[in-house]
């Protein structure tokens, strides 16, 4: 289990890669003294994370001063099968961000965030779609959290069994898991418009 260093000095590139690959984050906040965790779409712009939607609306009752959040992103990479039940595990990459989420009010910044949300789902999608109207922009709640107090945790590699268990006649290893895009499903009202390449050959790898 590797834990990348916390606060400031963390490995930006590793953290950014995990954030940019995930589709949803889990945002936690405290409401009436109790924890609430909601999945929500998000996007990163540089060293800021933006979230929007229903999670924000539930958090917003007391957002004048910002709200403490913990925002967690997890990618599951494989099932780790050991010789003993005890050492079974999961290979994963996760990022945990602590910070104060603040309302984005500047229209230009909000527009940038919506641009980032769209391109986070499909890279370069923004250029093909109808941009938000002013009223859509006003109707969208956007929050941002700085990437300051951030930690990443990564498990990779084979199972780690107790030395005496390596003699057991039990298969051990890793079942790798990947998220795969299937054949795109056309909307019923397309009128013959064909799926663009970025949909027919969807890949999460942007490099």
């Amino acid at each position: 289990m590797k834990r990348l260093p916390k606060r400031g000095q963390y490995d930006h590139e590793a953290v950014h890669q995990i954030l940019d690959e995930a589709f949803v984050c889990h945002v936690g906040f405290v409401a009436d003294g109790k924890p609430v965790v909601i999945p929500t779409a998000f996007a990163r712009i540089g060293q800021e994370l933006y979230i929007h939607g229903s999670a924000a609306s539930r958090m917003l009752r007391s957002l004048d001063e910002g709200i403490d959040v913990c925002l967690t992103v997890t990618l599951v990479d494989g099932l780790v099968l050991a010789r003993s039940a005890f050492h079974h595990s999961i290979n994963y990459r996760s990022v945990v961000i602590f910070g104060i989420a603040r309302l984005v009010e500047d229209p230009a910044e909000k527009l940038n965030a919506l641009h980032a949300f769209t391109d986070h789902i499909v890279h370069d999608r923004w250029q093909d779609v109808r941009p938000p109207t002013d009223s859509e922009l006003r109707a969208t709640t956007v929050l941002k959290i700085p990437l300051e107090e951030v930690s990443a945790k990564v498990r990779t590699g084979p199972p780690l069994d107790d030395e005496e268990d390596y003699a057991l006649s039990v298969w051990a290893g890793v079942v790798p898991l990947t998220v795969t895009a299937g054949v795109p499903i056309d909307d019923e009202r397309l009128n013959g418009i064909e799926a663009p390449d970025y949909v027919r050959h969807y890949t999460r790898n942007r490099s």
Copy 2:
């Protein structure tokens, strides 16, 4: 967006399917007045959810009376590409559980939970592996949360565009996403033991 009914009367089967398909949950709790969200392995036995590992150990400082948690599981099923940026979305299934997590102390119940953790990763794996020793059992912290205050939220289907946008010359539809198991990676010290069928043809579908 379908929201299944909350508390008691919810659709058990739909909730159980989502829980049983996911590999990790995100458990939220309050520490020093602030939210913390940690990904962790889990398993369901009937109407109880069990979690273990590092999340529990961080939560345990004040667990005598149990600790308020919110436990969220999310499966991402597809990318929803609309004609407008504003209506882009994600198809997903999620379950949110509120409750008090309590320490499992009875050794028999703890053993059942470890059995469930192992079989949650790979169905029927438990019967092939070395079972936990008493000291492994003691070294494992297990918490349980009853499935009482539970809600599920599901988005399926095509994008929903504004009526006037259906005339735009923009492709719209859904890119389905699935989690796929790859070729199993043998541990280096297998000594010729072959991968069992449940590893070579891994599937999450248990029916």
